[in-house]
């Protein structure tokens, strides 16, 4: 406590400890002994002014205050003043707090701010910039002097400013840590007028005196460029895939006409010849089996080219029904081989019904085809625990000839055959089609079981339809590859159309 002439009349224990004086050493001394000599003159003037109009106040609210210890070292302080008016005169009580720790903390914060990889801008409730770091200067091409005290909207492109002000006011009503404009494109405005894409996150900062907001701003130009490149790449891949599929379709389609002529004329030629030697019979047999194999290849290639994700129509379906439909299509084979097919309870999922029928038709058909000689095929289909919540897992187990482990991955590649055509007919496309179908359902297929235990195919299928990553392509027609007079657009989904043997059924008799 000091009197109007600036003499210390009372100093408590904390004061004596803080400054390193005994009580007697301070009493009667001008208060300026506690102030570094360089600041003493200024302080005297301030003190005189204070006593002209004494009131409760923070001292040097926006100026750093420094005090001096008895041993001569200086330290930062925070001071508040209260007047005490008595009959004996006016006195002032100064509460002095050592601000060393606080100042260190502040410096740490500011060092942290500078070290942050992003631009950080501290904004007050009025929208004025209170603090920025060096990254802010670099990013927006301003010096910090040009920014501090100015409205944060100088960093916002003009067309967004009004909107930004509204958002800012709303933010201060319920401030919390959050991403700004998630899902929206945000732009920053540099001093030179150029704009750049940014990402912002906001966190409130409650200080003793006011509520501030820290905006962390990241320049995402590079990322945007990379993203765009990735998008273009994915797009070109998609187009090239579609073109390949189109090509496979058209090629296999155009192979049918010459094949038909070869088959038909070999049949007619055979009839024209009066008598055939055993060798000639054999040759005709070769033509026939090869033509049949080629027809199967064309048929399966057509199916393979048609089974693509773009054409998959996902609906909520019962897998049991898909399996039953595939069993109906396999009726002849099942009867012929006296096969037993056991179907457990299967789940409902979002899937393309036609593709699932085809999937089970291929898998069950394989299980019957690759039977053990002399043993009736037995196929079991059921649901098993899935490794993930998002997928269902289904197995197709048979008692057939099984498969060496070394082929268990290769077998899903197109044209992979483990047996000669004489042993087991087939094109090596069936399992490739299965793989494509499960992939269209964001799933996976693998085969387990050695050569003695039959095969167990395990497939996973997503419970919900996959989101299309490049939706724009859905609506577009890929450029058709021009060939002969073909005008097929292959818009049909119907599976019956895929089978050349179903030809007569196509007529609307």
């Amino acid at each position: 406590m000091i009197n109007a002439r600036g003499k210390i009349i009372l100093a408590n224990k904390q004061t004596r400890n803080l400054f390193g004086y005994d009580h007697e050493d301070l009493l009667g001394q001008p208060v300026e002994v506690l102030i570094p000599s360089a600041l003493r003159d200024g302080h005297e003037a301030h003190r005189a002014n204070y006593f002209l109009n004494p009131k409760q106040r923070e001292m040097g609210a926006d100026v750093e205050l420094t005090a001096v210890h008895q041993d001569g070292h200086e330290f930062p302080v925070e001071i508040s003043l209260s007047p005490l008016v008595t009959e004996a005169g006016t006195f002032a009580t100064a509460s002095i707090r050592d601000a060393t720790a606080r100042k260190q903390a502040q410096e740490q914060v500011s060092r942290l701010l500078e070290a942050a990889p992003d631009a950080m801008i501290v904004v007050n409730q009025q929208g004025s910039i209170a603090l920025v770091n060096a990254q802010t200067e670099r990013l927006f091409l301003y010096t910090r002097e040009e920014l501090i005290g100015h409205s944060v909207e100088v960093l916002v492109p003009e067309r967004f400013r009004d909107q930004h002000k509204t958002h800012r006011r709303n933010y201060f009503v319920a401030p919390k840590v959050r991403e700004m404009g998630a899902g929206r494109e945000l732009s920053g405005l540099r001093q030179d007028g150029s704009e750049f894409p940014i990402e912002i996150s906001l966190s409130p900062l409650q200080t003793e005196t006011e509520l501030l907001t820290i905006a962390t701003v990241r320049d995402v130009s590079e990322r945007k460029i990379t993203e765009e490149k990735l998008r273009q790449y994915a797009r070109s891949l998609e187009i090239s895939n579609r073109e390949l599929e189109q090509f496979a379709y058209v090629a296999s389609h155009d192979l049918q006409a010459p094949l038909r002529n070869v088959v038909s004329y070999s049949q007619l030629l055979k009839r024209e010849l009066p008598s055939l030697s055993d060798t000639a019979q054999q040759y005709f047999q070769y033509i026939e089996t090869n033509a049949t194999h080629m027809r199967d290849l064309i048929h399966d290639l057509l199916q393979f080219s048609r089974v693509n994700s773009a054409r998959a129509a996902h609906k909520y379906i019962d897998i049991n029904k898909a399996v039953q439909a595939s069993l109906a299509l396999l009726e002849t084979e099942i009867k012929h081989h006296k096969a037993e097919v056991l179907v457990g309870d299967l789940p409902h999922i979002e899937a393309d019904a036609g593709q699932l029928v085809q999937l089970f038709q291929n898998l069950i058909g394989n299980a019957i085809k690759f039977k053990r000689p002399g043993i009736n095929p037995r196929v079991e289909i059921g649901s098993q625990t899935s490794a993930s919540d998002s997928h269902v897992a289904i197995y197709v187990q048979d008692n057939g000839i099984g498969m060496d482990t070394e082929y268990q991955e290769k077998v899903f590649q197109i044209f992979t055959r483990l047996h000669s055509v004489e042993e087991y007919a087939g094109t090596g496309i069936g399992l490739a089609i299965c793989k494509k179908i499960v992939e269209n359902h964001s799933g996976d297929i693998r085969v387990e079981g050695g050569p003695d235990s039959g095969c167990r195919f395990v497939l996973t299928l997503s419970k919900v339809a996959p989101k299309n990553e490049i939706p724009s392509l859905q609506a577009e027609e890929s450029p058709a590859i021009p060939t002969s007079a073909n005008r097929d657009t292959d818009s049909e989904q119907s599976r019956d159309d895929n089978n050349p043997q179903d030809g007569p059924d196509n007529s609307h008799a």
Binding site: H253, Q256, A257, L259, R260, N261, V263, S264, Y265, Q267, L268, A291, R295, L302, S484, A485, N486, R487, D488, T489, D490, S491, E492, S494, D496, D497, N498, N499, P500, D502, G503, P504, N506, S507, H508, A509
Partner: protein
């Protein structure tokens, strides 16, 4: 019976002719090897044919357009048309039906099967 065959592939044309001869004893059928020539011949005929066998994938004028012209033509509008195609795609089937074809058959690789399906189709569409 007068049959007009629109078919660009000579080997396929011969197969159709053999099938017609085997099933109905028909010989010397009229034919054209592209859509333009077919229209030229059909639209200038004094007497409309009893039946038209139309290959769908015809060069110059496609089978679909040819069918459209036939159905719009005064004398040909009511002539039965059977679309004959290699295609196994359902979209052709649909287009043929929409375009007013009376029937649709596939050029099956097995000759006997093709001959049978052509015979039944012709018997279905011809007035008895």
């Amino acid at each position: 019976m007068k049959v007009f065959i629109c078919e660009d592939d000579p080997a396929s044309l011969a197969l159709t002719e053999i099938a017609l001869e085997n099933s109905f004893g028909l010989q010397n059928c009229l034919s054209a090897s592209n859509g333009e020539a077919a229209w030229e011949a059909l639209s200038n005929m004094k007497e409309a044919p009893d039946i038209i066998l139309l290959d769908w994938n015809l060069p110059r004028v496609h089978g679909e357009s040819l069918l459209e012209r036939i159905r719009a033509h005064e004398d040909l509008a009511t002539v039965p048309v059977i679309v004959v195609t290699t295609s196994i795609s359902g979209s052709d089937n649909e287009a043929a039906e929409t375009g007013g074809a009376n029937d649709y058959i596939v050029k099956l690789p097995d000759f006997e099967a093709f001959q049978d399906s052509l015979k039944s189709a012709m018997e279905r569409v011809l007035p008895h």
